[in-house]
């Protein structure tokens, strides 16, 4: 059991992990443990996203350039599962919105059925277009007034339907399900075509998901942000007010305020670590099973694999859905950690392309590589900014104060981040295309 977890690890890999650990511990001494624990938690989530992308790219060679969308869908799940429902809004239009969405789904289903049943002809095209058009207007006629009523309910603080008020941890698998659903739709339409098309289709769906999160206020308050996602941990302030906790930590010689925030972060870390370890165990088992070998066989030679009777498209769809689900789960964990869903913070460069850098640098096709890449690249991503600013200060220290160039250089040091990540990706891709921990 445990053996399969570490299968294929070499001493060199362990040294690489030790090196990354030293980076984080060093940062703790230079900055503070509090900061570093925050970084570790985000790095754990990033590593899970990297595992998801690695399943798609590393096992199967599928190009998912819409990681951000799946992550955001997971985040939406966290809100919908955990926040208390807005009773007034639900009674104002909750049922009607659900009916409208069902009508919308029924329209699409009817169109698909009509397309399948009718013989290919011009009439079929018109019939399907007609169904969609009529369905769309019916949907809008039911949907719009309900949305207006829901959004009118106390818009400054709620103005949305709210959630189911269940424990937030339940939202993690639910987030995975949401992402899996979106992946199924995309995969069904784009997977049978060449790989570039999947990339462009996923890029598109992720932009649309973010647009929906930003604009559908009834769903998650849009850009007003859904706050108050309950934490699975006790709040730091409660710990500080708990006399037994304060007594214990002061006895150990800690400051109660710092100790409380660190305890909360350690609690999150334990949860995330448990998920990560479980996922690595599962992915390692899967990769080394007949199924994993089949996946890699398909990736390396689709024609040969299909000649051996493997259903390439079906297997691709399967792994695409699984990988997206892992990304969705990580998204729900991220919103749990933040305690709020802020659609404005979903940037493709951070949530799609940075994850890609992690997978490529870590070693595509190797689960431990993705974890290593996640931690290493996240550390770099955070630390490049202070390093960039420091470098710019060194460069500009000789220039006259108040000069235009000096101000410009100092100001733009913040953009060094993107540049560095791009250069790292290009350099690794060229000189070490198999990554730090290559596939075995």
């Amino acid at each position: 059991m445990i053996g399969s977890l570490f299968r294929g690890m070499t001493r060199r890999d362990l040294l690489l992990f030790a090196f990354v650990a030293v980076l984080y511990i060093g940062t703790a001494y230079v900055q503070s443990w509090n900061t570093v624990l925050g970084m570790v938690n985000l790095a754990l989530i990033s590593a899970i996203m990297a595992l998801g992308v690695n399943m798609q790219w590393g096992y199967a060679g599928l190009l998912n350039v819409g990681v951000m969308g799946f992550v955001a869908l997971g985040g939406l799940a966290a809100v919908l599962v955990s926040v208390p429902p807005t009773e007034e809004a639900v009674s104002a239009g909750g049922l009607q919105i659900v009916i409208a969405l069902l009508l919308g789904a029924a329209t699409v289903a009817a169109a698909v059925v009509a397309w399948g049943k009718m013989p290919p002809s011009r009439a079929r095209g018109f019939a399907v277009a007609g169904i969609l058009l009529v369905g769309f207007f019916v949907f809008r006629a039911v949907f719009d007034p309900a949305v207006a009523r829901v959004e009118a309910v106390n818009p400054a603080s709620t103005g949305y339907l709210g959630g189911l008020h269940l424990p937030v941890v339940i939202s993690w698998p639910v987030g995975g399900l949401f992402a899996a659903g979106a992946a199924w739709i995309i995969g069904k339409s784009a997977l049978r075509l060449r790989s570039d098309y999947l990339a462009i289709a996923t890029l598109g769906i992720s932009e649309i998901i973010i647009a929906i999160l930003k604009n559908e206020d009834w769903l998650s308050r849009g850009v007003k942000n859904a706050t108050g996602v309950p934490s699975p941990m006790p709040a730091a302030i409660d710990l500080q007010n708990d006399p037994s906790f304060v007594e214990r930590v002061t006895a150990w010689g800690f400051d109660p305020v710092t100790a409380s925030t660190i305890s909360v972060k350690l609690g999150y870390m334990a949860l995330f670590l448990a998920v990560l370890v479980a996922l690595i165990w599962l992915t390692q088992m899967a990769l080394n099973s007949p199924w994993g070998r089949m996946m890699r066989a398909i990736r390396d030679n689709e024609v040969a694999a299909s000649a051996m009777g493997k259903d390439v498209t079906k297997r691709h769809l399967q792994i695409f859905i699984l990988g997206s689900a892992v990304c969705g789960m990580a998204g729900a964990m991220l919103v749990t950690l933040d305690g709020q869903l802020t659609p404005g913070t979903y940037q493709p460069l951070r949530f799609t392309f940075l994850i890609w850098v992690m997978v490529i640098v870590g070693g595509s096709g190797n689960n431990w590589g993705s974890v290593l890449g996640g931690f290493l690249i996240y550390w770099l991503y955070i630390q490049v900014e202070p390093i960039g600013i420091w470098t710019m200060e060194m460069i500009t220290s000789g220039m006259a104060d108040g000069s235009w160039l000096k101000a410009h250089l100092l100001e733009s040091a913040a953009h060094m981040r993107l540049l560095t990540m791009g250069v790292i990706l290009l350099v690794v891709l060229r000189f070490s295309p198999r990554g730090l921990i290559p596939e075995r």
Binding site: D196, A201, W356
Partner: protein, 337 residues
């Protein structure tokens, strides 16, 4: 009769004219994507940021010209700065090709590797553009604002509704027509253009007949630099220049190229207009148009806006999906699948 005319004017003013200008910009962008796909055989994700880079340089040069007091009369100064922007972008893309893509060409790497490399290039350009010009919105349009203003049009025709044609919209269309004409002349009439088409059709056969691939690739990048910078500057003149928006343009541009048929220049142009017209038409509230066209009893109460403008990406995406599902090679035959 007058009502019908008024409705038509509203439609032209708010839908047809803006969409034509936008379509021309998308078409130029999609031409760049499709040429790279045809010759180098990969989807270039750095294209949006290449456009942003060219535009950023042009904006800086425009400001320089304005500071020096150089102007282009009623036309925007940016048109004078455009050649310098193209030259800078040419250096950039040829440099990128030497530093990044040529290695993979030698290795005969899979197209997907090029694609990932282009993601890296995209990152670098993203940082570079922000480093040069920052992340803010920049306006750099100057010169005459309108070719025909609403007031002039009303005085001229006596209609209740006015029609405005902005100089930038007219310039966009004129420049796009000139560029496309020059491109097609180049591809169909010159020796280099013919060798590019031969290389795109059948690489091995082209190599056998003595075409130098590196030369073909070099010319492709030069043309792509010119197309991307022109598209970016025209878009910036028409709206404004913001690096992140250019990154987001990638989606409608790809949609245009695929809808038309990847690798097919004629298709890219058609695709650009298909995407632009549907985006604008579906996100424009038709209330005022229908108010003129329908009898009074049937006049709509709502805005008759099919989708809010925030979902304009959803429109290009849906068209993309429909084309992928039912006609994967695009409207014109591309080299897909």
């Amino acid at each position: 009769m007058v009502d019908a005319l008024n409705g038509l004017i509203v439609l032209a003013n708010f839908v047809l004219i803006p969409a034509t200008a936008y379509g021309a910009q998308l078409a130029l962008g999609a031409l760049g994507v499709t040429l790279i796909y045809g010759i180098l055989r990969f989807s270039n994700f750095a294209h949006g940021d290449t456009m942003a880079f060219g535009t950023a340089i042009t904006v800086l040069v425009t400001w320089g010209f304005q500071a020096l007091g150089i102007s282009f009369g009623p036309l925007p100064t940016a048109l004078l700065a455009l050649p310098i922007g193209i030259a800078a972008t040419s250096l950039l893309v040829v440099g990128t090709d030497r530093a990044v893509y040529r290695f993979y060409r030698k290795q005969r790497a899979a197209p997907v590797i090029y694609l990932i490399a282009s993601l890296g290039v995209m990152f670098v350009l993203n940082g570079l553009v922000r480093f040069i010009i920052g992340t803010d919105d920049q306006r750099f349009t100057d010169g005459e604002r309108f070719l025909i203003s609403v007031r002039e049009f009303k005085a001229m025709t006596g209609l209740a509704e006015g029609l405005a044609i902005r100089t930038t919209q007219a310039i966009t269309v004129v420049v796009a027509v000139l560029v496309v004409a020059a491109l097609f002349w180049f591809l169909n009439r010159t020796r280099t253009g013919k060798s590019m088409r031969a290389y795109s059709d059948n690489e091995d056969l082209a190599l056998l007949s003595g075409i130098n691939p590196e030369r073909v690739v070099l010319y492709t990048w030069l043309i792509v630099a010119a197309l991307a910078t022109t598209a970016g500057v025209l878009y910036g003149l028409d709206k404004s220049f913001k690096p992140f928006v250019y990154f987001q343009l990638l989606l409608p541009i790809f949609a245009a190229a695929i809808v038309g048929g990847l690798g097919n220049p004629l298709g890219a142009i058609a695709g650009g207009f298909v995407i632009a017209y549907s985006e604008v038409l579906i996100t424009y509230p038709m209330k005022r148009v229908l108010g003129y066209w329908m009898p009074e009893s049937l006049e709509p109460d709502g805005l008759v806006q099919l989708l809010s403008t925030d979902y304009k990406f959803a429109v290009s995406f849906s068209i993309l999906l429909i084309v992928l599902l039912f006609r994967p090679t695009g409207l014109f035959k591309g080299k897909s699948l």
